[in-house]
Symmetry: C2
Subunit: 125 residues, 2 copies
DNA sequence: TAACTGTATATAATATAAATATACAGTTGG
DNA sequence: CCAACTGTATATTTATATTATATACAGTTA
């Protein structure tokens, strides 16, 4: 497990831990059901309070990336692709909702928006 | 000029003032180049510090809704439609950018997104 | 039972946001 | 000119939210 903390960049420590672990899970570097370092062990390594590592793990659990067995440890959750997908779809819909409002405000119609999407997403197939 | 402050709803006072004036400008209730109440006069009416009204006016000026002549007063800005439009376009592009990232994450392609846009904006022409 | 897991609650330190007072400087009309 | 009005700039207070922490607790395991 490879976590680097940068105290200077202003990003909260718990968040640095959260996103680095998250990325390792998404990239597959951490496998499903693999045990994560204990919150205390990791905290000791990083020389921070274990409350901070706990907070990072809490976020990860809330987002569904890990699961916890009290008194045993924390593990990488099996990828719930469908869940992740639905969350993303919801986010996308919210963005479209916002775009919709903005479009009305500056008199753009559906086609204008679609053209913008085509243009902005040019690099994607 | 009609401004109502609700101390209970948690929204900052300066923001309540900001959005009420903004709405009156957008709706046309306040005409171009019309003089706004002085920050001190309004503050007195509302029984708050004029620093708070000043802050609201500052926001309005930053957004381009009003302009200020120091020692004279604050006035409703001529509607810069083009400016507003460009700001909105930028916001829309940012949303599309976000959508683009999400789309990659859940394996949606450009066409999927366009279909979603079509669907979500159904009610607009 | 010692040494490890995670949990829960309370607390301290810091940063940010919100509202303010006070002193300042330009404009205007009598 | 000057009194009474405009907006400006700086420093300060207050409240709230965020970040990080210590300490005491409870379950698991070899």
């Amino acid at each position: 497990m490879n976590i680097l903390i940068d105290n200077k960049n202003g990003e909260p420590i718990y968040n640095q831990i959260y996103s680095q672990i998250k990325n390792q899970i998404i990239s597959g570097e951490l496998k499903e059901n693999e045990m994560l370092p204990s919150i205390r062990g990791l905290a000791k390594d990083l020389r921070i309070s274990f409350i901070t590592t706990k907070r990072a793990y809490e976020e990860l659990e809330k987002e569904g990336f890990i699961y916890t067995l009290p008194a045993k440890g924390c593990y990488v959750a099996p990828k719930n692709v469908e869940l992740l997908r639905e969350e993303n779809l919801k986010k996308i819909e919210n963005h479209i909702e916002e775009i919709s409002k903005l479009a009305v405000a500056c008199n753009l119609n559906k086609n204008d928006i679609i053209e913008m999407v085509m243009f902005c997403m040019e690099d994607q197939k």
